[in-house]
Structure formats: structure tokens, C-alpha cells
Amino acid sequence: MRPERTHVSTPRFGRPFASHPLLIRRWLGAIRTRTLLTWLGLSIGCAAMFSVQLLSVSIERALTASIRAAFGERFIAISNAGAGVDESLLGDVSDVPGVAVSPVVYASATTHAPFEGRLQIVGIDLVRSGLEGFASFGGLRMQVDPLVLVADARSILVSRAFADAHHVAVGDELSALTPQGLQRLEIRGLIETPPSASASAAALAVMDVYAAQELFQRRQFDELLVWSSTVDLSRLVGPLRSVVGGRAQVLPAGSDRGGAEAMLQGLRIGLSLIGGVAGGLGICLVYAFASMAVLARARDLAVLRAIGMTRGGVRTIVLSEALLLALLAVLSGWVLGVVLARLLLPFAQAGMDGYVRDVRLEVSSLSWGQIGRMAGMACGAMICGGIVPARWATHVSVADGLTGRVETGTALVRSSRRRTRVALAVLGSVAAFVLGSTVMTESPTALLVGAPILVVLGSQVLVASFGFIARRAPALGCRVWGAEGAMAGMGLSSSPRRTVTALLTFTAVIAAIGATTVFLGSFRESIDRWFVATFPQDLTVLSGTSIKGVHVNPLPPLVGARIRELPDVAEVLSVRTRTIEYRGEEVYLMAQHLRPAARRGILVRPDTLDLPDSLMGVVLATPAFLRHFGKHVGDVVQLPTPGGTRDFTIAGQYLEFAGTTGALQIDAEEYEKHWGDSLVDMLEVFLADAGNAERVRLAILRELGDQYDLRVMGREEFVSNSAERISRSFSFTAVLDFLFVLIGILGISVTVLTSLVERKRDLGVLRAIGALSEQLVRSARLEFVMISGIAAVAGTLVGIVGGKFLTDVVVREGLGWYVPCRPPWLELAAVAVGTVVLSWIASAMPARRVSRVAVGDAIWRE
């Protein structure tokens, strides 16, 4: 053929990155299996993030709706957190211009005829409040003249749902057990509850407040409800507070009074941690994929640079690939996330202690802004994973790439080593300074600042260690597994950087699981120890169920007195719990007889506790309270009481897991003196012979159980019941841990597949010189196991450090709880061994590729 002249003009076009879509499409298509595995891993990570967000929002919505349905948004509540509101306050509040007010009493009663069940009873002054006020109460509606309830003190209204469920109607009578004994209550009307009300609203009954006071032997009201048809409620809060003073708390419309915020806060912290872990794993997975892709394409990148692709173009193409995978993973992760949320919902709901029953997972509950933010964060995290590999790609040595000296990717890092060393030296100095300051000043802030630096330094230490292991892997493998181990080690040493990347990824997975395992294990053990120490009584007697988180049926002192008279009962200690307002925040206040409690060892403390000779005017505080309000033992605190603000001296510390603002304890006599409240929430019964616990328990139930709506638990039952409630809230982490391990295994699969593809020639040579196909398959599986085994050990060690950080810093600063770090060694070992076993199982499919290596093709054709 005669050569002809070629005249091709070369216009300069203005479309940057026109080559990128073609290259990305072709490159990803050339490694379909690895691309799919990475996309799957990223999708699972996104699904975990989305599911926890969806769960959090849905539960929060249901909880808020439940609270609003129960508490309503159209009234202000004046409450003493269960201690009772005096009748004298009613007159003072009524005098505030523009208000309408009704006292309220909450109670519960067991019905015996015509059916056995439990009614939650609300006593309200319908004459004073009228229908409008009644409607303010959680949106309830009735169609009967309120005077019918006043005409007969035993008249009640029941919800329509209750009537339908139990086949009763207006005019029927119910027998209910009350402190006055068995009473007949007549149904005089039905009430409609709003659809959003919690399940407890179905068993709601309404009666006249004064009739309820008499029936349930209440001297005081539980709350005063205030509303207005002429004045905006928000403008009434101030005048009411000045009238009420310290005698009670004024809670604005819609306030949370059931500790729901504390519950939600715990849920949010847990879910945020999980979301963070999922995001971190996404970064690791993209880092692993992009790193291996850059290493595998080093020659292609060299050619592209040679024919005119700029460094910026190379960087953009790597990041664009990461972005494309991220977008695909976000879309598929969203769908998977909804499925995962449904799977996790029962676990999360169990953690809410049945407080919220009707949780609906509605994707529409998430706003576009929230969805956009989640998607943006997921994409951003994954692109972050591609930043370092993109930088590597720009450092491809073109000359080495063109002459084929770049198989191991060593050319990629030549120019970055010195900068890395300088950066490490600087970081090391800063970290040493921060650590020193932290140790000397015990400042958690310093540790929080130093933690990211430690992570960076720690990862460099890991990189160096893994590189050392990777290079010696053939010798190590040979020593342990013989020839097949050596072949497996060759897979690790053929590309140390790829091996290090895979090890880092899987180590991060195991470390994340390890850290949460250490935290949960330490937390459970602390709770167990705390419960065992704090509740040494043989029997625990509690008041009945709560309505809307407010304790109902607090026990009169009479109950304790009658239990004391029973045979075999040595001592009965009472506990009263409430909340008070201190510096604008809610703080728990517990009242009990401190000296007997201290004698019994109930007061658990992190350090020595010596009670002062006089308990007048003193309180004990938890470490969380001291830290939150900046107080110390010996300081004076001003606490609001019905009689005005009083000074109390902090006499010592004690341990309690009560919330972020902490708790205070006061002697029962001091409490009754200042708050005028002799009711109790819990009785701790000590027996002369603990062996008689069951007999005494039955005797208490027989004598007083139904009348006072009692629940009596033995020691083990009480401790395990309480600890189990807390464990249940974290039970869904096991599902997520499994998903994280799955992500890690997918990452290893990508690594091993890349290794097998790149070593096709080596594998062909091994076959040619006599290695059996099954030997190569076993060596490929051993390669898997070696990576997961090394990562399991490293990840467990890192996880222990991470767990200590979680317990010492995050929990202490975030929740105000003192949780000593006690790693659960058996669980940690089980996680490590379990992941290695899972890896062995997962290695079967990728290793099968080795058996398909054709010797001739591998050696003589690339």
C-alpha cells in the first residue's frame, strides 16, 4: 500500500474532560466484578446511614406526636413532677388575667368485671373547664354534658376504642379496684381520642377531679392545666411563673415531660455513631477501590500523560470515578436503607421501652433538605476516599510507565515520601504536646483535638507495620502453611501498597466493631455493677404504670408501714424521685434515708463517701451534675422548693446514670420538710432471711398488690429487668456490625481479585512448574484469610483504644456518665475469630477464578 500524506488539522476544542466519560465507562467495565463488589459494599454503607436517619426521624415523629397527643399543645401545665400541686395554687393561678385553669389527677385502676384490664384514669374539673378546656387535653372530644360527671362521683367517660374492644356501652358498670376497695364505676359517656394518640389513650377514662381525689386518696392535684381563648399562651408563661414561684414548675405548651428528650438524645447519639462509622467505612472502601484501580492502571495513566493528559485531568478522572460510584451507591443505598430500616425497627422500638408503639416508617417524613444533606454527606465521604489515590495518580512517572517499570506502583509514591515525613514529624510534635497537656490538665477538649491527630499518626504506624508484614508475607506464610502459604504470601508481597490498602480498610471495619463492642461491654458491666451495688434489697416494690411518663399512683407512707409489719421483713427504705429546675435545666432529685442507705451500701461512689454528721441542708451530687454545672464537693447550690429557694451544701459524690445534667440526692426527712411530700415511688425491702423472698413477695401482693397497683420484684428480676432494658436499646447494633463486616469482606474480595488478575502470569508459571489447581485455589483462600487475620488482630487492638476513647470521652462528655473501660475479651475474640471464619467462607467464589487459569495464555499472552 502506498503511503499517503495525512493532512489532519487540529482545532483546539473548548470542552474539557471530553475523554473522561469514555475512559471511566471503559475502565469500570473492564473490571466489572470488582466494580460491582465495591458498589455493593458502598450501597450497604449508604443503606446503613440512611436507615439510621430514617429510623431516627420516624421514631422522633412518633414520639413527638405521642407526646403532643397526650399532653396537647393548647395548654400550659403547672406541675411538681409527681410530687403534687397544692390546692392553694389553684386560686392564685386563677387570678392571672385571661387564664382558664383546671386541676388534674392521674391514676390507674384494675378492672375486675365485666372484664379484667387496666384503666388509666384522668380526673379533670369539667365544670370549671368546660368542653373547650377538655378539648385542650390531647384533643379529646366528648358529646355529653360535663355535669353528668359531677352529679355522681362514680361516673366515668371511656374512650370509644376501649368500649369497642371490651364490648361495653354507655350505662354499663365496671368494677375497679382502688385504694378505697372495689368500686363500681358507671360509664356515662364516650370520648373520641385523636388518631395520633399513643396506644395508652385507648384505655383512657375521664372522671371528675375531686371524685378522683377522693377515690384514690390524693391530698393534692398532679397538675394544673392552663389555657386561654383570649391571650397567646406564650405570653402567659411569665406571669404564671411569677405567681407560682418555687412552689411548682410552669411548663409551656407542648413541653416534653416524660423524659422523651433524654430517650431521644440517647437514640440520636447511638444512631449518629453508627452513621459516622458507616460513612468512615465508605471512605475506606472507596480508598481501597480507587487505590487499586490507580495501581492497576498506572501504565494507562502513564500513556495518557505521555499523549497529553494533564495532572489535573488525571486527578479529575479518579475523583469522577469515585463520584460516579458514590452516586450509584447513594441511589441503591436509599432503596436498601428503607428495607434495612424496617428490619431494624423492632430493635430500635424495643430500646424505647415501649414508650412509642405506633412508629411508621414514612420516607416522606424526611424533607428534601434532609435527603439532600444525607446524599451530599455520603457522596462527600466517598469522594474523600478518592482524594489520596487521585494524588497518587498525578505522580505517575511517565517514563517508568512507558517502559513498564511501574507494576508495583512504587513509582507512584516517589515524590510524596519527603512531604509525608515532614508532615508526620509536625503532627507527632503536636500530638505529643496535646497528650502531655491532656495528662497534666485532664482536659477532655485537648483530647478531642488530639484525637484526629492520633488517628492520622496511628494510621501511619499501621501503614508502616502492614508494609513490613506484606513484604515478609511469603516467608511467614511458608512457615505456617508451607508451599500454599508461601504462594498466598506472594499475593500479599506482589503489591505491598495494595495489601496495605486492603489491610487498612478491614482493620477500620474491625476497629469500628471493636470500639462499639468495648463501649457496650463496659457500659453493660458498669450498669450491672451499679445495679447490683445500688439495689442490694431483697425485694423491690414499685408504684404502678406511668401515664405519659408521669408517675401515677405514688405510694403513700402507709404502704411502707404495712410492709414493715409483715413477718420476715427486717427493714423498708423508701425512695422518692422527681425532677427540679436548676439554672433553667431539669435535674433529677432523689430522696431517701441516707444513713441506712449508706449502711446498706446503696450509695455507690467513684471515690470515698463519708456522710457528714448532720444531713440538714446537704445534698449529694453525681459526677455528671458537678461537671455539667461546674460545681465541686463543698459548694453551695440554691434549689427551688415550695417554700422558696434554699441553700444546700454538696457533701459528696455518688454514682448514678441519670442523664446529662446529673442528679442530686437528699435525705428523706429534709425532702419532706422542704417539699412537703411524703409519697414514695419505690420501696426497698430487706428481709431477715433472703431465702424467704418469694414468700414475702406473695404476701405483699396478696395484702396490697391490687389496691395500690403494686409491682413486687425479687432482686435478680429487678436488676436483670433494668439492665436488659438498656441492653435492648443497643441490640440493633449487632445487625449493623454484621453489615460492616460484610462491607469489609467485599473490600477484601476486591483486593484478592485484583491480586489474582495481576498475577495471572505468575499463577501460569506456577501451574507450568507443577502446582495443582486446587493448591492455587487454597493459596488464594489463604490470601483472603491472611488479610482478614492480620486485620482482625490489628483492628481489635485499635478497637480497644477506640472503645476507651468512647467511654472516657464521648460518653462522659456527651451523656455525663462515668463508665470505666472494661473490654469484654471473650466478645472481642469472638468478633475477630468470626470475621476470619466469614472471610474463609467468602473466599470460595473469588478463589475459583484461579482454577480457570490457562497455563499457555497466562505465560505467553498478556
Binding site: M1, T6, R15, R299
Partner: protein
């Protein structure tokens, strides 16, 4: 077109310093087919990489159309390679994931050309080189000679004024190698264009207008071929001293 003055290049390899190129001076005018020959390790490929801007010289200067390469940024040198210099490598170095026409169109795509336009231009060049029917094939499905012709097409599609070829016939049989040399030769029929080819094959070297030999990083000879008028056969050479060897 190309002016090389006292250029040297050193590498650190395993703790030793290797002078791959040592004080080379050379001029390559437009329209010339220059062959650089020498044994393995003589520095000829390194010199080629220096001319292409792939490596930076440790000393001396290289000017391309009067512009000093070492004064250019990496981006400027890269754009120079993209628009003015065509590279042909020993092993073709095609991207295995792309088809033949996509490989040829790649430099145009890098310059922002729409895919359709780039493919059209690529097809024109492939047609001239007799590879139009193979446009959808992947490099793995081509013979060595075909791959090298695709590499030449990729180098030509940008209408370069300089083609740098590093052992283009190194892995080809004599027939395929002859074809490649013929195509490279034809490039210089356009007086604007020059070809610099590195080879250790004396037969390939005989196709050049001028042959410079390197040994141990230095130029040791510079011969200009004289057209004996006996057609394309340039196997006979008359020694004509070229510019002084440094």
C-alpha cells in the same frame, strides 16, 4: 526545530548515580528523519524522553521551536505533547479497554473534541493506514504490526510537527517492521514534520536521513545518509561528517 545543548540526565538507582545522558548536543531541523542508535543502556531512550518533555534534564537545555522546555510548566509541556508531538512506543502502549478508533481519537478527546468529531478524524487516519475495518476491535485482538500502526495513527491524528518513536519495530517481524518504517518515512515528506526514531536495529536505522550513535550516554558519531539515487534502498552509506560531536 529541536535544539539540544549540553544536555545531561542523571538518575539515582540503588544508591548509585547513573549518568544516562552526558553532555549531548544535537540539532534536529524540520523535515528530517533522525535516527538515534546505540546498544542497550546507551541512553537513547532517555534522550528521547527528554525531547518529549517526559523527563527534565539535569543539565543543559532543550529548545522546541525556540521555546526552552525546562522553563515550561508541566502543564505547558503536556499540552505541547498533546498538540505538537506524536509519540510511538515499542509496545504500542494502547489502552486495552478502548477500541482501535477510541485509542486513535484519544488525543483529540483530551483536547476537548466532541466524540463524533474525534471519531471521524480518527477514521480518516485509520483509513489511510489501512485499518478502517479493525476500528471496533480491542488491542488484544490485533497483531503486533497492526497495534503499532494504530499507535502511529494515534500519533498522526493530532497533525504533529514532530514524531518521536522509541523502538517502533522492536517487537515486530521484518515485514511488519518494514511497513512501520515506511509510514514513518512518509511523515517527513511533509517538510514541516520531523521524525526522531530510537532503534538498535541497523536495518531500521538505514531508513533515516541522519544517524547519530550513542554510547554510555554520549554521542559518538553523527552520519548523514546520501541518496544514491537507487530508489528506496538506502542500505549504502557515504560517511558525511555532521555537526561536531560534543
Amino acid at each position: 526545530m529541536i535544539s539540544i545543548r549540553g544536555v545531561s540526565k542523571t538518575f539515582a538507582r540503588g544508591g548509585h548515580v547513573v549518568r544516562a545522558v552526558d553532555g549531548v548536543s544535537l540539532e534536529v531541523p524540520a523535515g528530517e528523519f533522525l535516527v538515534i542508535t546505540g546498544p542497550s543502556g546507551s541512553g537513547k531512550s532517555t534522550l528521547l524522553h527528554l525531547i518529549a518533555g517526559v523527563e527534565r534534564p539535569s543539565g543543559g537545555e532543550i529548545r522546541f521551536e525556540g521555546a526552552l522546555l525546562s522553563a515550561m510548566s508541566d502543564r505547558e509541556v503536556t499540552l505541547l505533547r498533546r498538540r505538537r508531538i506524536g509519540l510511538v512506543f515499542q509496545s504500542a502502549n494502547l489502552l486495552p479497554a478502548l477500541s482501535v478508533d477510541e485509542n486513535v481519537a484519544l488525543p483529540l478527546l483530551l483536547d476537548g473534541a466532541p466524540m463524533r468529531e474525534a471519531r471521524k478524524r480518527a477514521m480518516r487516519v485509520l483509513d489511510v493506514l489501512g485499518l478502517a475495518e479493525r476500528r471496533r476491535h480491542r488491542p488484544g485482538e490485533l497483531s503486533g504490526g497492526e497495534m503499532q500502526r494504530v499507535a502511529i495513527a494515534r500519533a498522526l491524528v493530532i497533525d504533529p510537527i514532530l514524531i518521536l518513536a522509541d523502538e517502533p519495530t522492536g517487537s515486530l517481524d521484518s515485514s511488519a517492521g518494514n511497513d512501520v518504517l515506511t509510514w514513518l518515512r512518509s511523515v517527513t515528506e511533509d517538510a514541516r514534520r520531523s521524525v526522531v526514531m530510537v532503534t538498535h536495529d541497523p536495518v531500521a536505522a538505514s531508513r533515516g536521513d541522519r544517524v547519530v550513535a550513542m554510547r554510555d550516554g554520549r554521542l559518538v558519531s553523527d552520519e548523514r545518509a546520501i541518496d544514491t539515487g537507487r530508489g528506496d534502498d538506502r542500505s549504502l552509506r557515504f560517511h558525511t561528517p555532521g555537526p561536531a560531536v560534543a
